[in-house]
């Protein structure tokens, strides 16, 4: 007769192990440390970002001229209605979009070209060229604005002498806009080149090697392999351009043109600032700020979604 030999038998598991679960207080104490570590960061965020945001939201429903002695008068949605009827709103929005679009070549296209061209440069030469490209990033915007003001001086400035044409850069509509865009781009370029170079370094060399053996030319490799794998980095740069164009252009506009001539260089950020701190219309500025906050939030959301979609989790 055959008898089956048992394999390793699983022992009977009792319905509940006695006294294995730690007490509730103990579990809380164990789960606490990560949150404790997070408190300073969260605290700063709450105090410096979310509280002002909430304050601004509240302020947007009042009329107030920033004087502590004057009362805040609740006005409901009037501020929002005023924002949408502001005479300069359209032109400043349009200018904001123009600036962002015109900055993209400096933050995405040029850096990609520069990084691809200099990819082959190795060793010390590479460090030197990177330092050269990155240097403008280190110059404080206000300081560089002062230098550029001097360079852009009509007739005697370096730019006019170089071009040989007497353009009054900061006091004519088109040239003033161009100057703001180009100087911001000049600031941005070095940083963007570094970001693209880091993105390129993160792409495994084997892909290019494999593509070479598969018969692809250098251009095909760039078009079919490198750029698609670099696209998350490029989207990130575009996102940065959209979100930071305000911060980057503001000091230049404020120092060089003060939004002029006329309102030629008044973008929405500068407009907002003018209403809040020059016309002392805090409620209106807060309402405008919130409207732009939501608008840019949506644009950023789209770009983040695109970024996620383009990341291939290269392993």
């Amino acid at each position: 007769m055959f008898v089956t030999l048992a394999a390793v038998e699983a022992p009977e598991v009792p319905a509940s192990y006695p006294a294995a679960r730690p007490s509730a207080a103990r579990r809380v104490r164990r789960a606490l440390p990560p949150f404790l570590y997070l408190t300073p960061g969260l605290g700063c965020l709450a105090v410096w970002t979310y509280r002002p945001l909430a304050e601004a939201a509240r302020l947007s429903f009042y009329s107030w001229n920033l004087l502590p002695s004057r009362p805040k008068v609740p006005v409901g949605l009037d501020n929002y209605a005023d924002v949408l009827q502001l005479p300069q709103l359209r032109s400043s929005l349009w200018l904001t979009v123009t600036i962002i679009v015109c900055l993209l070549p400096f933050s995405v296209v040029l850096p990609t070209i520069v990084a691809l061209l200099t990819q082959q440069v190795r060793g010390r030469a590479n460090a030197v060229y990177r330092a050269l490209v990155f240097a403008p990033v280190l110059v404080a915007p206000v300081a560089s604005a002062a230098i550029w003001e001097w360079l852009l001086d009509p007739r005697h400035g370096g730019v006019d002498r170089l071009l040989g044409s007497p353009v009054n850069w900061l006091h004519e509509r088109g040239p003033a806009q161009l100057a703001v865009i180009v100087i911001t781009g000049w600031h941005l370029l070095g940083f963007a080149v570094l970001v693209v170079a880091a993105g390129l370094a993160g792409i495994n060399d084997d892909y290019a090697a494999a593509a070479q053996l598969d018969g692809a030319t250098r251009r095909q490799i760039i078009r079919w392999i490198t750029l698609p794998l670099l696209s998350p980095t490029l989207v990130l740069l575009a996102l940065m351009t959209v979100l930071l164009s305000g911060q980057l252009t503001f000091p230049l506009i404020d120092t060089l043109t003060q939004g002029g001539p006329g309102d030629a260089t008044t973008n929405v950020y500068y407009l907002l600032w003018e209403y809040g701190f020059k016309s002392f219309n805090a409620g209106l500025a807060a309402a405008a700020g919130l409207v732009f906050f939501l608008g840019f939030g949506m644009v950023a959301g789209c770009l983040v979604w695109l970024f996620e979609k383009l990341s291939f989790h290269d392993n």
Binding site: A209, Q212, D214, A216, F312
Partner: protein, 395 residues
């Protein structure tokens, strides 16, 4: 149709010489395995053949044409990378079709060829997936598919199986061998796994620290290792390598060391010298301790069970001797043991250079007898018989 000739190929990185004057002639249809430990320069050599690394000196000839400075695109070779290097943003179909697409073939032809390759490699159901949605074995097959889709003159493979588990590796080895049979094309295959080398290669080239140690069929390399390094590298457990003194003793060649006493063929006087004697664990047999004159006497230290076989580790003098045989070996730790081997299973190597030694009886014949078989002609009586180290490789 591809014959690859490598002529004195050298690659120096700033400090290390990764590949040192390697010459190889790879015939059309060869399955050549480049075998060696990690860091010995296998990948560097393969990448020089592919054209991805420019050699410091030396030449690469493809069908007699010098391609040393030809870009990889124009060498008719396909490579499977260790990382597979599948393009992560492309589907399996586009990955496999990439070599055709970059050559601007018509779309219909690409689809047809990709389908053929996918069917051959059983990938037909996976064509729409991205590489990250594939298992390791499937990725490996896609990489092979991308290599063979355009029917290249030669395949270069850099450890393509090292990311697979043991079972899949065995299966894939068989598939690659079958593929080689079917296509009949030249394959240069890099590995540090001797089992892959022994089972797949038609020829094996063993590299050590950038230098070529031996080239030959798997049998040759295993049975007649050209150096102590090759002897040690091939075989698991590796060959026993024991330092002994070789001298003339009452008209015979005698090798001895504590616990070792080997009497070989008759020979005249020759200068005594220290050499390294090698014998594979599976060629050793235990004999009764009462036996007349066993080659080795020692004490069993441990016995390892490999399932079908056992390996006993014995202390012989100061050295360790591994004995391998079918289970049960009948040995117990602590026992005294006597071990013997057939004389023609012994290998001898120079102590300094590690090169294989052979016996040369002077003034007997212009073509001396093979390695360790005793001289077939009349025993040499000349007092100047010597162990000669073959000039192992041309420099």
């Amino acid at each position: 149709m591809s014959r690859i000739q490598i002529d004195g190929l050298t690659k120096c990185f700033s400090k290390v010489t990764a590949v040192d004057r390697v010459s190889l002639d790879i015939n059309h249809g060869d399955f050549l395995v480049l075998l060696g430990p990690s860091g010995c320069g296998k990948s560097t050599l393969l990448r020089m053949i592919a054209g991805l690394i420019e050699p410091s000196s030396g030449r690469v000839l493809l069908d007699g044409r010098d391609v040393t400075f030809t870009p990889p695109r124009e060498r008719d070779m396909a490579m499977v990378f260790q990382s597979y290097a599948l393009y992560p943003h492309l589907t399996v179909e586009r990955n496999i079709g990439f070599p055709l697409r970059s050559r601007r073939r018509p779309r219909a032809e690409i689809r047809e060829k990709v389908r053929e390759a996918a069917e051959l490699l059983e990938l037909a159901d996976l064509l729409d997936r991205r590489p990250r949605q594939l298992s390791g074995g499937q990725r490996q097959r896609v990489a092979v598919g991308r290599a063979l889709v355009r029917d290249p003159g030669a395949f270069l493979m850099d450890e393509p199986l090292s990311n697979l588990d043991a079972k899949l590796r065995t299966a894939t080895r068989g598939q690659l061998r079958a593929l080689h049979h079917r296509l009949g094309s030249t394959i240069v295959y890099v590995t540090h796994d001797q089992v892959e080398a022994m089972t797949m290669a038609t020829r094996v080239a063993v590299l050590n620290a950038g230098r070529l140690e031996q080239v030959g069929s798997p049998t040759e390399v295993y049975d007649r290792p050209a150096s102590a390094f090759v002897a040690d590298f091939l075989g698991a457990p590796p060959m026993n390598l024991l330092p002994v003194r070789a001298e003339s003793h009452s008209g015979r060649v005698r090798l001895f060391a504590p616990g070792i006493e080997v009497a070989l063929w008759e020979a005249g006087d020759f200068p005594a010298r220290d050499i390294v004697m090698g014998v594979r664990p599976e060629h050793l047999v235990t004999v009764p301790t009462t036996a007349e004159s066993p080659m080795f006497r020692g004490r069993v230290e441990t016995v390892e069970n490999l399932g079908s076989e056992e390996v006993a580790q014995c202390a012989v003098g100061d050295a360790t001797l591994l004995v391998r045989g079918p289970r049960p070996l009948g040995l117990r730790p602590g026992e005294q043991v006597a071990v013997d081997a057939a004389a023609d299973r012994l290998h001898m190597f120079d102590q300094a250079s590690g090169h294989r030694l052979r016996w040369r009886a002077p003034d007997v014949s212009p073509s001396p007898p093979a390695s360790l078989s005793p001289p077939s002609s009349s025993p040499p009586s000349s007092p100047r018989a010597v162990f000669a180290s073959r000039s192992a490789r041309p420099v």
